[in-house]
Symmetry: D2
Subunit: 405 residues, 4 copies
């Protein structure tokens, strides 16, 4: 009954990483069938495995669907063609059959050569240079008339993310999201990875939500900045506003961070903080004039750590430095994300999800939030590489700093 | 020891609404003292009460703080002065001692007359027209050089929100946020109020999150639109994208809404939906050409119901119609909020908080979410007028529509 | 280097059910290695597959560990021995190497025959009758001196639970726990399964928490009882107390279920309800005398539906009928669980977990709670067979009844 | 129209504690009216205030209801009578109009004297000794034929819990339950109170859930025991089982507490731990023989700290020392609760609620859980005296120990 077929190869840690069974699952879920023509299991953990599988399906359409899903798992056709492209005919609009990326390392076949797709991120298009030598990612709104965009599924190779058995200590955080686990262990492991990353001069990105300031944990982030553990910060209007509020008035949302008491008239302090910086013109000037003398923003500027602050519809102000246009803010985030090796997202949902969308799968990502729903939401997206920690942001940062000292 | 004092009057339902005890609390918390010079308790529930209280404090500063807080409770000085103002000297920057609004109805004293502040909302400034006849709200970033802005606390009268004993059925939802309550009762009450609001031609605002579409409940909102129960919609890129995705492909986030199954290749459907509308140019054209034939967006456009869609940093696309600039989006929301009498916020956090910031306290607000943290966060802000319902958005909408039929 | 090995067979839907890859994972995680000696993949979905795998390990201990874990996946040694046993030497104490059950159907080899273990449940011991003809489960505290208890891992065969591709509509609820799914679809599917179960005269168990009464949803359960959809009820002191409270006084925790208002003095009503039934002597007498005329308890007694009510340390009273001794209560639950084919657990955590521990894996289990943490906790335990629904208990029951009508 | 009335007096910190406005609220909510005949406000914070209020109502029934509610707020009739009683006529059954206690200090008028009710707890009856000299609490199931039980509302005086302005640092935790607060501040305050309590030789009670062990935080509790900060422990089968499991095998629920990895075969370890202690006969013998050498249970026994372990329906085993009968377990908890001055409840719901029911309102209670719903549920019950901390149990204990050192 099955009338069409194609042979694909899978190689790498396809047993460990469950690539092979997931491939079988895809084939059967979509109504196809398969025959394992050859299979070699790596004798040791460092050796890779190999499988050649003949996939059959009742129709061409089904076979096509199956192949495109197998591709995400790293399957490659035995006899691949060059990638297909179609030109953009309207600015900001993709050709109908555009290929949409994953966050996994990806190659396209150009003039018979496998070429790496640059600046890989999820859910965007791939544009090919006119000389057919390079390929790079472009978000939909950024494509221009004449850009050659990858379409269909031929000539594309995805390098799947492979589970690393050797680094089980990081891996153990990934199994499931729960507050009922030993967090101190996990924090030690995160600290170890931060040190390693910095030892090879890798970039660490922090994504911060305002609860970091409300809980008085801003001081720990400031110290991490001073110690060189933060190379770039993403956040929104709230984190910077309350950081400046705490630097200027000692409060966050009007609560005194030393005594925990609500300060008289303090509910206006965040507006006063924004107004003060707007009045002086910029954050840099606020430091120059001596108005701003401490806090995350202060340390970031002092240490030349870029902060990309993306506004949102709920913002007051906004604070100078916050980007009101979302297209522009995404662009800035895309630029700064290049080269990031580790991302630590704390008590943030909106900005953490936005960042997760931009990060390639190989970036070690740690999501810390007291709400398991947030951690699950974020850890689920990037799949293997994100470790979720359901814990208290304030105590996490305090402990992390302690372990790093 | 107390050396300075001032006499204030409080009147209205100050017993029922706990205005009086809260006033006492403020005075003592801030280090002052008081003497009740006269108190008249309304004999029946419809009669108002009156209290004249002499407030004393150790210093002028403390007295000033106390008076400014009492003001929020509706206290008025026995012998009021005109409101004070200061001119804006730099676009988008307020004078240092600017008065920051609450969401309660507010009056300022101009040339000896109490004048209502127009377009009242929370955390903004009050600008006085040059003829000293009118006063209106302005967000910080919108003030211009030369605007006269209210400063200090004199000559300001806040009309506190008073608990209504007569409408206990609505009130019972306000006592506490819990899923362990009879929601069917609450839904009947909400339906009753929606009918009342529409009977007097009042505007009902819906703020919608994407879970409304994911759960297949978009059809109920579409029906509410057809029946005239929705006058304006606020949301983001996600709600409209998945609404269009479901209209075009029958899926939401790639899940078939009829069968609940993940559709092959469906994870791209939201991108395809955005791309299709971008290609055709606009939502209106998508309807004209017959591409878009159903759903919330379709019904909203057909029934001339404005949708204000504010983008966010996590958006793909965005979909045409979504506003990328936050200053612009807030402006549009401010315009559309005028005249709204009832606001129903469902499965939305970001846009619901943004809306809550703009709504005057007298707007009946219902917050529906399955996550009690979201409901608490929203219901807490606007205080008395927001009713929180911890329940399932899909089943809530189904039941609401059923009751309204 | 690997010096010991053993050959095992796996058969059944081992591809679909991920049995094979999980087996590989176990082998490699525990430090062993494997060689696929033979593999046959079923040509169609109804055909089973087969694999013969040679497992090697560095030591006997590791091989033993691997084999015991493979056993849980259904692996059987090529040349099996009879099961090993050891006698109980102290009442309520097991022999050191006792085999601890899973909730999967299990067989033991006795005199060369595979014999089914009766009354299977999780985390208990298996006792063999003296004639070596039968095997049954016994909790630790119930074993007596002289009982022959299964030890080690030889001669045991676990029949793994296999994913059913045909019943995807139920399966789709199992993929992940989220409130962002179409619950109405799921409720239709649950209703369909309830009808099927009843059509073949199968038993349906309801486990109920007190929120069912607090939300006014007791009436829907009462109606399900009248319609014959409930064959046994598990719960605690709270559900019955508030059920009787609502039948006697129209309140639950003092809140009037018709109006939603707190009733004067109503906080005592649950104590009055308990006291009234204690005074009259029993629930049966309360019905006989006409004191109790409606509600879940009333309908359960009228329709001879057994209620097992297990007390807890937080109980007031307790209500007559509630079992204060936990050993006794578990015994009653174990008895009533026999023959149950479907279990619906609503807004209960303690009693739902207790029930989950007792249910064999093949019982269709639906867990309904508004708190995703509860649903995850429960759905995780029993693995494949539990479907979690994050939704509102009240609206779920209302909709379920509606669909069943 | 109001035809009946009564005059009541309120005194104490009735302004600060919002007693007076709550009294007004009660009167008006129930359909009565009032006239403030005299009011004296304390001139300083240490002085008390006084109010004499004439309460009127349309009927005797309404007046009665109002007076009984005012009583809970500390109101006393101007001309009080002796308390009324009725005899118990059936063991375990109260007279119909029995008075049900609050957890506030309470007095009854016997032979013209105000006598303190001993062993006060919530939701129980008050029994008067035959010589009418003493009064004490008794749970419903414990009353015997012939006991004289307080009925109605006359002759009862409740001493309301008064907010203490001086101890704002503790108070600030009470305002609302949120993870967005500075927990380190709160932990310092808790440590200070623990030291104070121990300095005056007061008892500190810990209520512990199993997550304390799962997260590896058992070591911190063991250290607190060694340092004399724990005088009594409440918990269940799970906490002790996993504590013993970790002492014997280094795991909790099979997870190695040093490495965070799942141990081979470890899912049985909790059963093995129970079986081992059952085999040896008792916890004391396990220590004597050297089997048990560390952990919470070990330290508790070594330091003569009583542990009351109440079983539940979900328990395996149970572990020796766990009480299976709930009536018996409550009795033991009631005994040990006497004299407790501070209660710290960590990651426990069932046992924490049970404990909360037994604690008088004046016991300083701290509820620590990562789930805000649990904290709210517990902090709500006991009203003013419970401080809720939404944070990570493991990091909380680590920090607390650190601060106490």
């Amino acid at each position: 009954m099955d009338t069409v077929h194609e042979v694909v190869e899978l190689s790498g840690h396809i047993i460990d990483s469950w690539t092979l069974p997931r491939a079988w699952d895809v084939i059967m879920d979509r109504g196809g069938n398969f025959d394992v023509e050859e299979m070699r299991v790596g004798a040791t953990k460092n050796e890779t495995s190999y499988a050649r599988v003949k996939v059959s399906a009742p129709t061409d359409e089904v076979l096509d669907l199956i192949l495109s899903e197998l591709q995400q798992l790293g399957a490659v056709l035995l006899e691949p063609n060059d990638v297909h492209t179609a030109p953009v005919e309207q600015d900001g609009v993709l050709p109908p059959r555009f290929y949409s990326t994953t966050n996994l390392q990806t190659q396209v076949r150009l003039l018979g050569q496998w070429v790496k797709v640059e600046e890989i991120e999820m859910d965007v298009a791939v544009v090919i240079t006119s000389d057919k030598k390079r390929a790079y990612c472009r978000p939909m709104h950024d494509v221009k008339v004449g850009d050659e965009v990858v379409v269909g599924h031929e000539g594309i190779r995805v390098i799947p993310y492979e589970r690393e058995r050797e680094r089980e200590s990081f891996a153990f955080m990934q199994s499931s999201v729960s507050s009922e686990k030993a967090k101190v262990l996990a924090i030690h492991e995160i600290a170890r990875q931060m040190k390693e990353t910095r030892a090879r001069n890798g970039k660490i990105l922090f994504v911060l939500g305002p609860a970091v300031i409300h809980t008085g944990a801003g001081r720990y982030v400031a110290e991490l900045l001073r110690r060189g553990y933060v190379q770039v910060i993403f956040g929104g209007n709230a984190i910077i506003t309350h950081d400046i509020e705490s630097a200027l008035f000692g409060t966050s949302l009007g609560v005194n961070l030393e005594s925990g008491e609500q300060v008289e008239g303090g509910h206006r302090n965040h507006l006063r903080a924004i107004n003060a910086i707007r009045g002086i013109g910029s954050l840099d000037k606020a430091i120059e004039t001596g108005l701003l003398r401490e806090g995350i923003t202060y340390e970031a500027i002092k240490h030349n750590v870029p902060m990309v602050l993306a506004g949102s519809i709920r913002d007051d102000g906004p604070m100078p430095g916050v980007i009101s246009d979302m297209i522009e803010a995404q662009k800035r985030m895309r630029n700064e994300v290049q080269g990031v090796e580790m991302a630590i997202m704390i008590a943030s949902m909106l900005h953490a999800i936005a960042t997760g969308n931009l990060l390639p799968a190989h970036v070690r990502t740690v999501v810390v939030d007291i709400n398991p729903a947030v951690v699950t939401k974020l850890a689920d997206r990037g799949s293997f590489q994100a470790a979720g920690l359901v814990t208290d942001a304030e105590l996490f940062l305090r402990e992390l700093l302690d372990v790093l000292s």
